[in-house]
């Protein structure tokens, strides 16, 4: 099946242009997302990485048009599988969510309904999108459970009878039930233990490759990004500060914030090395600095960084960095490059 998708690899599965999301509150306006472009190739996985408050989840919700009140979403264009999502009516959106674009939420404990059996919950999703009988949907649901490694006999059980890892498998089964072209996974393994996390990630990679699905993986864990993604976007304060292939971002890191993230991680190979944290805190999204949002924490920042927002700069065909310091052609960050 993989071959099939490789031929059409240049097809675009999802395209988002200039997304801005604001939450207008009584006393302040929270600028959660400030101009984001995403292009996801068919069969590829894009990682959205960044810390709490970077706007990762808000971006994901915008793709599904699920941003809650009082969020104001503005966007130049949003196309999934060639369909213009911005023009969809609420009826069309209902059909679109789940069958074209599905999402796995972070917390498997709260994203299942406690009063229905897991089989029913999968079958409901199938019936919502396909004209089929209840019996048939139930049979398909059992097949989906087996696909994610849960015996079909457990379809009649309730969520509380499953462990955390199993619940997340059920959530994956629901998301995949209607064979979506694009899957958004929002921190799908954050609530799980490492050995269970390894199981769930291996499962997701297998299903993705078998079905030729495209995926957006949202996580704060750069290890998970390295494990599953083809491309990476590093987000900070509602913007993408660095974007490129996995090798671009990991081996030829350009943005000082990305460098800071790598330096904060304990190095498993060199335990005595002292951690180099990024000083200070993420800026308040209701009061963003005028220039580069990262400038107050950046050790390379100059006056120019504090006055104007850095433009997106392509440093190679695939690698974008939003950093003013590169106006100086000799500028380098300290992180060594690898091949």
């Amino acid at each position: 099946m993989k071959k099939d998708t490789e031929i059409r690899k240049d097809d675009i599965a999802l395209e988002l242009k200039n997304l801005r999301v604001k939450f207008v509150l009584e006393r302040e306006t929270v600028e959660a997302v400030n101009g984001i472009d995403i292009t996801l190739k068919r069969g590829h996985t894009l990682g959205l990485a960044g810390e709490t408050g970077a706007g990762k989840t808000t971006t994901a919700l915008s793709l599904l048009r699920l941003v809650p009140h009082p969020g104001k979403v503005e966007c130049d264009s949003l196309k999934v599988d060639g369909k213009d999502v911005l023009k969809m009516t609420s009826k069309e959106l209902e059909k679109f969510r789940g069958s074209d674009l599905a999402m796995i939420f972070q917390d498997p404990m709260t994203s299942l309904n406690p009063v229905f059996t897991v089989g029913q919950q999968i079958a409901d999703t199938i019936m919502l999108h396909n004209p089929t009988t209840k019996e048939d949907a139930m049979k398909q649901a059992e097949k989906m459970l087996e696909l994610v490694g849960i015996p079909a006999v457990r379809a009649v059980e309730y969520p509380h009878q499953f462990s955390g890892g199993m619940k997340q498998r059920v959530v994956i089964a629901i998301a995949l039930a209607c064979n979506p072209g694009v899957l958004i996974a929002d921190e799908p393994t954050t609530a799980l233990d490492v050995t269970i996390q390894a199981q769930v990630l291996a499962l997701m990679k297998k299903l993705r490759d078998e079905r030729g699905m495209s995926m957006i993986m949202i996580t704060h864990d750069l290890g998970i990004i390295a494990d599953v993604c083809d491309e990476v976007a590093i987000m900070y304060a509602g913007r993408i500060v660095e974007y490129g292939t996995l090798k671009d971002v990991f081996n030829h890191t350009k943005h000082p914030y990305t460098e800071g993230l790598f330096n904060s991680l304990p190095n498993i190979r060199n335990r005595s090395e002292r951690l180099k944290p990024i000083p200070g805190l993420m800026p308040d999204p209701s009061n963003l600095p005028k220039g580069c949002a990262f400038a107050p924490r950046c050790r390379y920042a100059t006056e120019a960084c504090r006055t104007a927002r850095p433009a997106d700069r392509m440093v190679s065909d695939t690698h974008m960095v939003a950093c003013t310091a590169y106006d100086d052609p000799d500028f380098r960050i300290d992180r060594p490059e690898k091949d």
Binding site: V194, T195, I196, A198, H220, D221, I225, A226, F262, R271
Partner: protein
């Protein structure tokens, strides 16, 4: 041989449940050298937090011996226990729920100082609060802020300051950084490291994050279903893991590097029930090397090289 600040022998904590006894901590022994850090790792439900709380008798152990600087704290009465807890402190996992939301930083810290009579007199308390805030890197202007006004990293700093207020010799750090973002996590880890050096503290560092524990500990104990399955100096454990569970755990850590192919050991199934466990290796059900020998009896820890202990019936065979 350096002096041990803490010695724990055969610690057990069972909880009564409707379906029988839950063996949360089942015969755990270890010791910590003065000024050193023992890392305790394991997945949810392995008993690592309960172990930490038992040491301070925040939960009453079912049986066992806990010696702090030679004194058996299991035999202490309430007053004596209160006195010894000045030397033994704890930093909790969740900086959002471990602080009183109605107390400012000043109130939280000065109450601790006043009640325990660490310093007396209004001026002395005020000075000490400011000193503590400086030690943990909180700006003086934050003295009258409430926890909800602060981010997770700063809240965790209050938790650390509160523990330090007692001038302890030993601190149980129960997942102190798992609720924090990586850039903040690194700040807190560096702070804990500096404090250890400056004040000669000893730590138990409880975590599920092997990269963190690798960075932070002198020695590591890996727990599975209430028991220690492997214990070794940090470098030895990472270079030469022996227990199949430790190996799986190490191979499951996502590494933030571009690696073409990485051999991964994927465990089957999940942690089994800690209620009335049978006398067999508790990991056998998920272990790819399990044989009849493993199901006969629960293997005890044995020393395979100096300081390296493993509880596996098939040591040397696989």
């Amino acid at each position: 041989m350096a002096e041990n600040i803490l010695e724990v022998r055969n610690l057990k904590k069972y909880f009564k449940t409707a379906r029988g006894m839950l063996h949360a901590v089942d015969d755990v022994s270890f010791s910590i050298e003065k000024g050193h850090t023992l890392g305790v790792v394991g997945e949810s439900g392995c008993g690592k937090t309960t172990t930490g709380r038992c040491i301070l008798r925040l939960v009453e152990p079912t049986s066992g011996e806990i010696r702090f600087e030679g004194k058996d704290i299991m035999k202490l009465n309430r007053t004596e226990l209160k006195e010894i807890r000045k030397d033994m402190q704890i930093i909790f996992q969740d900086p959002f729920s471990s602080l009183d939301p109605r107390y400012t930083i000043n109130q939280t810290l000065s109450e601790t100082l006043r009640i325990n009579k660490i310093v007396t007199g209004k001026k002395a308390i005020e000075d000490r609060v400011l000193e503590l805030m400086e030690t943990v890197g909180l700006a003086e202007r934050l003295i009258n802020t409430y926890p909800h006004e602060l981010d997770g990293g700063r809240r965790q700093r209050i938790g650390i300051a509160r523990a330090l207020a007692m001038e302890p010799k030993f601190i149980v750090c129960d997942e102190p950084v798992s609720a924090l973002d990586v850039s903040i996590q690194a700040q807190i880890l560096n702070l804990l490291e500096d404090l250890q050096e400056k004040l000669g503290l000893s730590y138990i560092f409880i975590t599920h994050d092997l990269a963190v524990v690798n960075h932070f500990s002198d020695e590591i104990a890996v727990m599975y279903l209430g028991q220690i399955v492997e214990k070794a100096p940090t470098e030895e454990l990472f270079d030469n893991p022996v227990h199949p569970y430790t190996r799986a755990l190490l191979s499951a850590i996502p590494i933030p590097e571009v690696i073409e192919e990485r051999p991964q050991i994927l465990l089957k199934g999940e942690i089994s029930s800690p209620i009335e466990p049978k006398d067999e290796c508790r990991f056998a059900k998920r272990c790819m090397f399990a044989c009849d020998k493993c199901r006969e009896k629960n293997p005890a820890l044995s020393e395979i090289s100096p300081g390296h202990f493993v509880a596996c019936a098939r040591v040397g065979e696989v």
